[in-house]
Assembly symmetry: C2
Homo-oligomer: 218 residues x 2
């Protein structure tokens, strides 16, 4: 499947690498590929290691992709997706794995969406012809793509308004190794997984690592 | 140990009953005992079943208690605790198991504290001489007192500023059957477990039952 990963930070790089390893045709989207290669040497290393992987501008990266992964920073999500363009995103599945983190007051950050809304819904409102699915935002990058690195199976959530888009997302999650996929319901349920970050950040602060996750026992 | 449980709703009744079964000396606090017995027949049934259990006004119930459990409604927490009185609560451990739920816009409720504060901290600020510990608020009443009703062990959290108060709380949690007790840190970490309610409510909505909990796999 042709998949476009938007964002060149650690999350975008981990996801892109794993999807290439899984034999997908992967493009990484960034604002200015030359500037990214100059500022971020890890992107160049990744491209050298996987010759099938390409780095393109946001709109070029998304062209022809069956599925788009938003791995950018939550605060810039709408701006980044606007550079891809609503026409380019129309009809596509967009997996949003970002969180509405606000670091302006230091660590731990707060969220710029309170529980009465979610960043995922803001994205859906801004791109009504795109099928937004929220997932993976409750995990550190390493566990998004290697959930088997924990000693026991854990839970990953999906939220979205379009059933087919959730089916496509769940198939991809299974390829990544996720076994307990909890479909919470429509995209408003992303308020739940985004607000969970407040607990995640406190556990991270106490454990001193992001290598942990929750298992929903029911 | 003499324990006072403040609140006669389902949470208060479950906790009081279980603590009596565990051989504690338990008083239940309410605004007006006669009015409660008239309006809430389940309280009378509980008192009839456990002759050692007593129903008293808030301040009388807390008198002489080594530990006080706030099992009232979050929205009325400060008002209820003011009826107990700051002198009565001074020096005591207060386990706050309430959540800042706001049902004014229907179900699912929102929270009247956003992630930049917590109800537990508001209570601590209002009663600075009391040792507030937040715990059990991430569970439905039945699982607070019978965590073994789930097929696998799960996690319960504690947050608080006073180390001895957390030791006392953890001992009580172990008596209730909790085995994985995660001390998140000071009382500001209650922001994490309170905001988790947004996810809890969505899982509750999907599962149609509150008989579930998370296990932190690390």
């Amino acid at each position: 499947m042709k998949i476009s990963v938007l964002g060149t930070g650690v999350v975008g790089r981990k996801i892109a690498e794993r999807l290439v390893q899984l034999q997908h045709e992967v493009t990484i989207g960034t604002r200015d590929p030359d500037a990214t290669l100059e500022k971020n040497p890890e992107v160049g290393q990744l491209l050298a290691q996987y010759p099938g992987l390409t780095l393109l501008s946001f709109d070029e990266a998304a062209a022809g992709a069956a599925l788009v992964v938003h791995a950018g920073n939550g605060a810039a999500a709408i701006e980044l997706l606007s550079e891809v363009g609503s026409q380019q995103l129309a009809g596509k599945v967009l997996i949003d794995i970002s969180n509405p983190l606000d670091f302006s007051a230091g660590f731990p950050p707060t969220l710029f969406c309170d529980g009465s809304e979610s960043l995922a819904e803001r994205i859906q409102d801004a791109f009504p012809d795109t099928h937004v699915v929220k997932s993976l935002n409750t995990l550190t990058a390493e566990l998004m793509v290697h959930p088997e690195n924990l000693p026991e199976p854990t839970t990953v959530f999906v939220s979205g308004n379009n059933a087919d888009a959730k089916v496509a997302t769940e198939a991809l999650l299974r390829e990544l190794g996720h076994r307990d996929i909890f479909d919470l319901g429509d995209l408003s349920t992303a308020r739940g997984t985004e607000q969970y970050l407040y607990l995640w950040l406190r556990m991270f602060g106490k454990l001193g690592t992001g290598i942990f996750n929750i298992r929903v026992v029911r």
